[in-house]
Structures are given as structure tokens and as C-alpha cells.
């Protein structure tokens, strides 16, 4: 009994110091002087645009990663892809690479003199320092989440259900919609939450490819960093708190939605 209590206290204490402490602290600092300064820090045109841009980029890269994650997940788990094992490793790359390095890599590919950069700018498409680069960087860093959630579930449920559906006359498409996708709903919901949270918070890669242009390519995390550097403590805390709030909203919304689907 004694050792169990010790273990629990230890684990909770560890979480409190490591996770809860900083979060409580930022909330406290944000509202130290009441709601008015927070409101004014968040209602500047710069801050409003940063919030809008972060949400927009997330809303674009999220469906991209959901579709890719489902296709790649099925291909990997059902071994329908040549070199599936290498693909499986490749999908982990965004986890292994520092976002800054990802940003640099995109910069060299899409920048002046890069393989794709010159061709695209020749066709009048500006990638770097514009919305496309934000979407590219964000999609890159948040790519593995859906795949990683979907593959183990697919492997666990096996192919019996899908084959049963086939013997009952269902096409591959019908089987996917009626059998495979419902089995994946929890994994998918969790993957969506993680992807969205990661996309909203993305800083490293975006800070390199975006150019951090105020009112144009400055996302919420970039705004937090800029205000912090300029000794605008209340502004930084407020923006940071707004970022945390949006992420928590995503998690809460997903929890409610997936609970409603439960029977």
C-alpha cells in the first residue's frame, strides 16, 4: 500500500512540476492585471491576423494529412505498397527531423535556385514567404500522426471483416466506407487531434519559410516569439494563452464529437 501511494504521489508530482506548473503559470501571468490588457493585446490587427492565419493553415493541412494518412495507413498495413517498409520509415521522418531543418530543406527546394522554386516562380507562383510555404511546412511536420494512429488499428483488426464484406457482395469502396473507416474512427479522431494541435503550434519550420511578415505570414506562435523578444510580456502571454486555448478547444471538440458517435 505504502509503495503504491509513493508511486502515485511521485507520478502526480512529476506531472505537476513538468506539465501543470508552466500551464498554470502562463494563465496566471496572462490575467495578472485583469482581462482588459489581454483583450487589447489580442484585438490588434496583427494579433487577429495571426490567429486567423494559424487557424487557416491548420484547416488546410488537416484534411491533407487525414486523406494521406488513411491512404498510406491502409497501404502500409495491408502491404499493398511496393517498398512498404521504406515508406513506413519515411513517414516517421518528420518526427526524427528538427522542424528547423525541415524549414531549411523546404527553403532550399522552393527558394531561388532551388529545383522547384525557379520553375514555380517562372509560372508566377510564389511559395516562400507566402501561404503555400506555411501549408507545406505545417503539413510536413504534422504528417505522421494520422498514419501512426491508423496503422496499428488496421493491423489489429486484420482482414477478416473486409473479406467478409467482399463475400457479401461489397465493392472495395463500399467496404472501405462501411467497414474499415468505422473501425478506424477512434484512431482517426485521435490522429486529427494530434495533427491539429501540432499544426497550430508549429514554429521552427514555419519561422524559416514564412519570412515572418507581420500581418501577412506571421502565425500565432511566431507572434508570441516576436512579442517575447520585444519585452512585450503581456502581449506574449496573451498570444500564448490564446494559442493554448485554441488547442484545448480542438481537443474538447473532438472528444465531444467522438463521444456522440458512440452507441
Amino acid at each position: 500500500m505504502g509503495s503504491r501511494l509513493l508511486l502515485r504521489t511521485g507520478a502526480l508530482g512529476y506531472l505537476a512540476v513538468l506539465l501543470l506548473g508552466p500551464v498554470v503559470m502562463i494563465a496566471y501571468r496572462t490575467f495578472e492585471h485583469g482581462v482588459a490588457p489581454v483583450w487589447s493585446a489580442l484585438s490588434t490587427p496583427t494579433a487577429e491576423h495571426a490567429i486567423y492565419l494559424s487557424v487557416l493553415v491548420t484547416l488546410i493541412s488537416l484534411p491533407l494529412n487525414v486523406v494521406f494518412g488513411l491512404v498510406a495507413g491502409v497501404a502500409i498495413a495491408r502491404r499493398r505498397m511496393p517498398a512498404g517498409r521504406s515508406v513506413n520509415l519515411l513517414v516517421n521522418l518528420p518526427f526524427a527531423m528538427s522542424p528547423v531543418v525541415i524549414g531549411l530543406a523546404l527553403f532550399t527546394l522552393y527558394g531561388r535556385g532551388g529545383w522547384l522554386g525557379d520553375w514555380l516562380s517562372g509560372h508566377g507562383i510564389q511559395v516562400l514567404f507566402a501561404l503555400p510555404s506555411l501549408v507545406l511546412a505545417t503539413t510536413f511536420v504534422s504528417l505522421p500522426f494520422v498514419v501512426r494512429e491508423v496503422v496499428p488499428v488496421l493491423e489489429e483488426i486484420g482482414t477478416d471483416q473486409e473479406q467478409a464484406a467482399a463475400t457479401l457482395g461489397a465493392s472495395a469502396w463500399t467496404t472501405f466506407w462501411r467497414i474499415t473507416l468505422p473501425a478506424l474512427r477512434w484512431a482517426l479522431a485521435y490522429g486529427v487531434v494530434l495533427t491539429a494541435a501540432r499544426a497550430l503550434g508549429e514554429f521552427g519550420a514555419v519561422s524559416i519559410v514564412s519570412g515572418n511578415i507581420v500581418g501577412q505570414t506571421q502565425t500565432l506562435p511566431l507572434l508570441v516569439e516576436e512579442r517575447f523578444r520585444n519585452f512585450d510580456a503581456v502581449g506574449a502571454y496573451s498570444a500564448g494563452f490564446a494559442l493554448a486555448l485554441i488547442s484545448m478547444f480542438v481537443v474538447a471538440a473532438m472528444t465531444v464529437l467522438s463521444r456522440r458517435k458512440e452507441h
Binding site: D160, Q161, Q163, A164, A165, A166, T167, L168, G169, A170, S171, T174, R178, I179, P182, A183, H263
Partner: protein, 331 residues
């Protein structure tokens, strides 16, 4: 539906699951694909269903070449060992699935599903989810689901393998009855010789990727094609250079034509039966089964010399050479 499998070979990497297998399955019969685990019987069933593609050879259903036809267009019903229930659908929805994907109209679907749920005694549980059913109930649901599309061919892969003994016996009797009612050609896979003997009109015995023998159960038991068939279908023991069933050996006190001299090593009373282990002159052990009354009448004791021979008219096959195991083979 009659099925003709012609020269089918299937490999999984290095492992040959089926080697040049040809077999015909008669229309309207209940046929068992019987054999030891890993012998290729499930692979054969899955090839007939279209869930696996053979490396070579053809599959004909009612004379039509179906080798390239996908499973969903073969007009089959398939039942999996582990049920393959759709967990997010109720029992009713599971059974209705095939009718819904084939766009049957609503009244037809409702009538058919309700009929089938009655047939498998699950009418009262139609709103439950598979996770709320026992193993036997899930398998009955899977059967109803397979039957909903009115398959001409019902294929079952170890359908009772995951169930406990009592439920298995119930379902066996019930499958036999169902087969008569639905008037389809039924093929099931089993590694249980008792299940095959009890249920099937026709048994296809498969071992190491090849068909050993095809025929009605009694024929396989009484006229086994080889030592493997004989030993797979019941207990055998080696007497000289033949395999014989332990209860087909006669124990005599004096030498006579065709007898083998043996010394009794062990006498076991097992309820109604007695089992005797005796050592022949060549050092091999023979097992004899006889009624307890008969054993007592002969007053057999350890160390006694007796003379053994197979009873006239009994089933024997040449023993495999070399004798890998001269103890009792089989179950």
C-alpha cells in the same frame, strides 16, 4: 453448385500450401475438408471462395471458370473461424449488410433478415451488438449473415474451432439440419476427424498440400488409401508390417496361423475397455484394445506370453517404413 478444382498450386514464399491439387465437390452435399493444421485445407477453401488466388490451376463452379472472378461475384457465403462480425453494427445490421450493399428493397431486406434471425434463434437479440453476444451466438449471426445473400455455395473455415466443446456439439447438429433446410452446397474446413465423420456426406482428406483421399466417411475409415489416412481417422498400432486398429487385434493363448508372439508389458483397465501393451520379438510395442470382460476372461498378466493377430476382415494398411513411431498413432 458443383466445384471442380484443377491442378491448383499455391505458395506462400518458400512454403507450398497446395501442390497440384485436383478435387471435385458434388452439388448439394455437405463436404468436409479435413486434415492436420498447416496441411493446406483452409487455403483450398479460400481459393474456392476467391479470397486467395492460386499460382497455377483453375477453379470451376458449376462448370464455369471462376479463377479470375472476385469473391464478391462468386455467389458464395463465407463463415470465418473468428466470426468476422462487424462490431459497429447491431446483429440485425450485420445480417442485413449483404442485402443492403446489393440494394435490395427495404421490405425484402426486413422480411429476409427477420426470417434468418428466426432460423438461427437470434430474433430476440437483433438489437444487440456483437460484443454483447457469446461465441456461439456470434457464429450463428455470422451464418445468418452469410445466408442472407442466398449463396449457392456455403463455405465455412473451421466454423466451430473457437468454441468450447459443448457449444461446438450443439452447432454441429444444427449445421447439419441447416444444410438440409437451405439447400446449398456446403463445404467446411476442420482438423477434427470426429467432426468430419459426424457431419459430412463426403470427406476430402488433405495433408502436406495434397489430397490423400476423397470419399464418404465410412469409406475412408474402412478402406483407407494409405497409412496416413488410416492413422488420421482413428487410433492405429503397428503389428508386424501392417497398421491395424487396436480393437481389431485378437489375443490368443496359443500360436496359430499368422500370429505374432508377444510379451505383455502393461495392462490398463479403462472403464469399459482394457488396454494392453505387448512387446513383439522385434522389440516394437503393440497396443491392443479389448473389452474388460474379455481381458478378465483371458486372465492377462504382465510378463505373460500371448499370440496376436488381426481379426479376419479388418482394415489394415502397410505400415510406413521406416517405423517412425511404433506406439499408438493418433488420438
Amino acid at each position: 453448385m458443383s466445384i471442380d478444382v484443377m491442378g491448383v498450386t499455391k505458395r506462400f514464399g518458400e512454403f507450398a500450401a497446395l501442390r497440384d491439387v485436383s478435387v471435385s465437390i458434388d452439388r448439394g452435399k455437405l463436404t468436409a475438408l479435413l486434415g492436420p493444421s498447416g496441411g493446406g485445407k483452409s487455403t483450398l477453401l479460400r481459393i474456392i471462395a476467391g479470397l486467395e488466388t492460386p499460382d497455377s490451376g483453375r477453379v470451376y463452379i458449376d462448370g464455369r471458370d471462376m479463377t479470375e472472378v472476385p469473391a464478391r461475384r462468386r455467389g458464395i457465403g463465407f463463415v470465418f473461424q473468428h466470426y468476422a462480425a462487424f462490431p459497429h453494427m447491431t446483429v440485425w445490421e450485420n445480417v442485413a449488410f449483404g442485402l443492403r450493399v446489393s440494394r435490395a428493397d427495404k421490405p425484402t431486406t426486413k422480411r429476409r433478415v427477420d426470417e434468418l434471425l428466426d432460423l438461427v434463434h437470434l430474433a430476440g437479440l437483433s438489437r444487440r451488438y456483437p460484443s454483447e453476444l457469446s461465441g456461439g451466438q456470434r457464429q450463428r449471426m455470422a451464418l445468418a449473415r452469410a445466408l442472407a445473400v442466398e449463396p449457392r455455395l456455403l463455405l465455412l473455415d473451421e466454423p466451430f474451432g473457437a468454441l468450447d466443446v459443448k457449444v461446438r456439439e450443439e452447432l454441429r447438429a444444427w449445421l447439419r439440419q441447416l444444410h438440409e433446410q437451405v439447400n446449398a452446397t456446403t463445404v467446411f474446413v476442420t482438423h477434427d476427424q470426429e467432426e468430419a465423420m459426424e457431419l459430412a456426406d463426403q470427406v476430402v482428406l488433405i495433408n502436406a498440400g495434397q489430397v490423400e483421399q476423397v470419399g464418404p466417411p465410412e469409406q475412408l475409415y474402412d478402406n483407407p488409401a494409405n497409412a496416413f489416412v488410416m492413422s488420421f481417422l482413428g487410433a492405429t498400432t503397428r503389428l508386424g508390417d501392417v497398421l491395424v486398429r487396436p480393437h481389431d487385434i485378437e489375443v490368443l493363448a496359443d500360436p496359430s496361423a499368422g500370429t505374432h508372439e508377444a510379451m505383455i508389458e502393461r495392462v490398463l483397465g479403462l472403464g469399459f475397455h482394457s488396454r494392453i501393451d505387448a512387446v513383439l520379438a522385434d522389440g516394437s510395442t503393440v497396443t491392443v484394445q479389448l473389452t474388460r470382460a474379455h481381458a478378465q476372461q483371458l486372465e492377462l498378466r504382465v510378463g505373460d506370453i500371448v499370440f496376436l493377430r488381426q481379426m479376419p476382415g479388418t482394415t489394415v494398411t502397410p505400415a510406413p517404413i521406416p517405423a517412425s513411431d511404433d506406439q499408438v498413432v493418433g488420438r
